[in-house]
């Protein structure tokens, strides 16, 4: 089941990106997503490409992970390219075969849009590849902290996210167990007519819900027994530390923005 889910999974490694503060990484990704739209010609796209390449190299994520992760989305990128290529009819005509006409603008747009798409995917997955989900949660909690003033439940939200993260593997395991148990009782999940297959989900979902509720109840009791009574007066064990590297990375991104502004057409 997990075989196709390599995309975006955290891959432990020793790298500058892994050690960076999740807050700076979140900010960088956020700004990157914005500034990528500034690029509109060959040279600006080259800047973006160089930046992305440097970031990927710095992450020390093995290339095969990136490749395997990209495999399912690469078709989407190619599809976007072809769509632009065939349906943009501006500029000089480059090639013609029967009804198929390829224009210069189409080629350009196709390349740019699919590249933008590719870089976005690479950079956002770089965030999840180098940052554990819990670090992302911590980063978000810290970045959203000012919202506490307007009574936004930042602590509760972060706690919910971290508990959800904690229980995802447990529930996956449980799903697998219940599926096997029902298969042993003659349920077929992956063959038979569609109607039967939909019906087969009931013996899986009900036990899963029952157990999730039981877990939630027991977890609440255990948390209470360990003195949990809301965010008030709590200290935090996990600490984020903003280092020089984080500031430098942001500066690099600002420099890139300036370059893009200067060289865009």
């Amino acid at each position: 089941m997990m075989e196709n889910m390599l995309f975006g999974r955290y891959v432990p490694a020793e790298s500058l990106l892994h050690r960076m503060d999740p807050r700076s990484k979140l900010l960088i990704i956020f700004f990157f997503v914005c500034i990528i739209f500034i690029a509109n010609n060959g040279i600006t796209y080259a800047f973006i490409a160089i930046y992305t390449f440097i970031m990927l190299t710095m992450s020390r994520i093995p290339a095969r992970f990136l490749y395997k992760g990209l495999k399912p989305v690469i078709w989407l990128v190619i599809f976007t390219f072809l769509l632009q290529l065939f349906f943009t009819q501006q500029g000089t005509l480059l090639y013609r075969l029967g009804p198929v006409k390829i224009y210069e603008e189409g080629l350009k747009q196709g390349l740019f849009i699919s590249l933008r798409f590719l870089f976005l995917i690479l950079m956002t997955s770089l965030l999840t590849l180098t940052t554990t989900p819990i670090e992302i949660t911590d980063g978000l909690e810290s970045l959203l902290n000012p919202l506490k003033k307007v009574r936004f439940p930042v602590h509760e939200m972060a706690l919910m996210m971290s508990i959800a993260l904690r229980f995802i593997p447990t529930l996956m395991e449980e799903t697998d167990k219940i599926m096997k148990a029902q298969m042993a009782r003659g349920v077929e999940f992956s063959s038979g007519p569609l109607k039967e297959r939909i019906k087969a989900v009931v013996p899986l979902l009900i036990p899963l819900f029952v157990s999730a509720f039981k877990r939630a109840e027991e977890l609440a009791v255990a948390m209470e027994a360990r003195g949990y009574r809301g965010g008030e007066g709590r200290t935090k064990y996990r600490q984020l530390s903003w280092k020089t590297a984080d500031s430098l990375q942001l500066l690099v991104l600002i420099a890139l923005t300036v370059l893009l502004m200067l060289f865009r057409s």
Binding site: M183, R185, P203
Partner: protein
């Protein structure tokens, strides 16, 4: 129905960076009518073996034979239902699989999936309930209103009602109190004796293995490291303990006593009665010193 595994290997998430070998070169024969105990620590691969016994997993190497069906790697296995009907599995904490509105509906769910008529399934449900020691008044209740022990029994009844020829038990008594434990184990043993039901017990408990099984297979790190009758397996308890495995209390006690007294009793005893007789004659008469 005979089951055999020959040179079976299984890899989880094969061909991914997360690949992991769960079992390798596992060969086990389970002739019809056997009571076999499969023993090993958590992570020894015994639950992976269990899932091969009714084709829930397909080996990545080797052959699994279930009756006259052969399950091999890399082959499309269509309609495994007949296999699954003949091999019933009681998973650990089987009460987690209950889902119907009433106990009766839940028990007949399995048999009806295998094409048994509703009328026949209901008959079987009543019989199965009797086996697990519950009354018929429970049939109309919701399984979720029962006590933990009762839920366990209903889930077991659901597997029995499939009338399998082989029954596989994965720690069927985990979490039960001593009385519940004994009742369930005795029930499976009498089913095995009376109906000649092949039984495969996956367990941590050397006590249960020594008491009920006629064949024991011990697994460690994904491989079979020992197999034989209880007498053969426990004849060299020190070897077992060296491998980090438990031995039954009787055997452990015998070893302790032999060490203290400095004599050997000559053979390993697997029941308290036999051991007490041997010890009595040793300490009071010194017949065998």
């Amino acid at each position: 129905m005979d089951i055999s595994l020959s040179h079976v290997e299984y890899r989880y998430q094969a061909k991914t960076p997360f690949e992991r070998i769960a079992i390798q070169d596992v060969s086990i024969d389970i002739p019809s009518g056997t009571y076999m105990a499969l023993i090993g620590h958590t992570g020894s691969g015994k639950s992976t073996v269990l899932q091969h016994l009714n084709a829930l997993l397909q080996p990545t190497k080797g052959i699994v034979k279930i009756g006259d069906r052969e399950i091999k790697s890399r082959q499309k296995n269509k309609s495994l239902k007949p296999v699954r009907q003949k091999v019933g599995i009681v998973f650990q904490f089987p009460e987690h699989q209950l889902f119907e509105e009433t106990v009766e509906k839940d028990i007949i769910f399995g048999p009806m999936n295998f094409g048994v008529s509703e009328e026949e399934a209901r008959k079987r449900a009543r019989l199965a309930l009797k086996h697990v020691g519950l009354g018929e008044e429970i049939l109309t209740k919701s399984p979720f209103d029962l006590s933990g022990g009762q839920m366990r029994r209903v889930a077991i009844a659901g597997v029995l009602a499939m009338e399998p020829e082989v029954i596989v038990l994965d720690e069927p008594t985990a979490g039960l109190d001593p009385r519940g434990r004994k009742e369930i184990m005795d029930m499976f043993y009498s089913l095995h004796k009376e109906r000649g039901l092949s039984t495969i017990l996956v367990t941590h408990s050397m006590e249960d293995a020594a008491r009920y099984a006629d064949q024991i297979v011990i697994m460690q790190q994904g491989m079979v490291i020992k197999k034989g009758t209880p007498e053969e397996i426990f004849s060299d308890p020190i070897d077992l303990m060296k491998m980090g495995l438990d031995v039954p209390e009787v055997v452990r006690f015998q070893l302790m006593l032999e060490e203290k007294i400095g004599t050997h009793l000559g053979q390993i005893y697997l029941s308290i009665e036999e051991l007490s007789m041997a010890v009595a004659s040793l300490v009071s008469g010194g017949v065998r010193s």
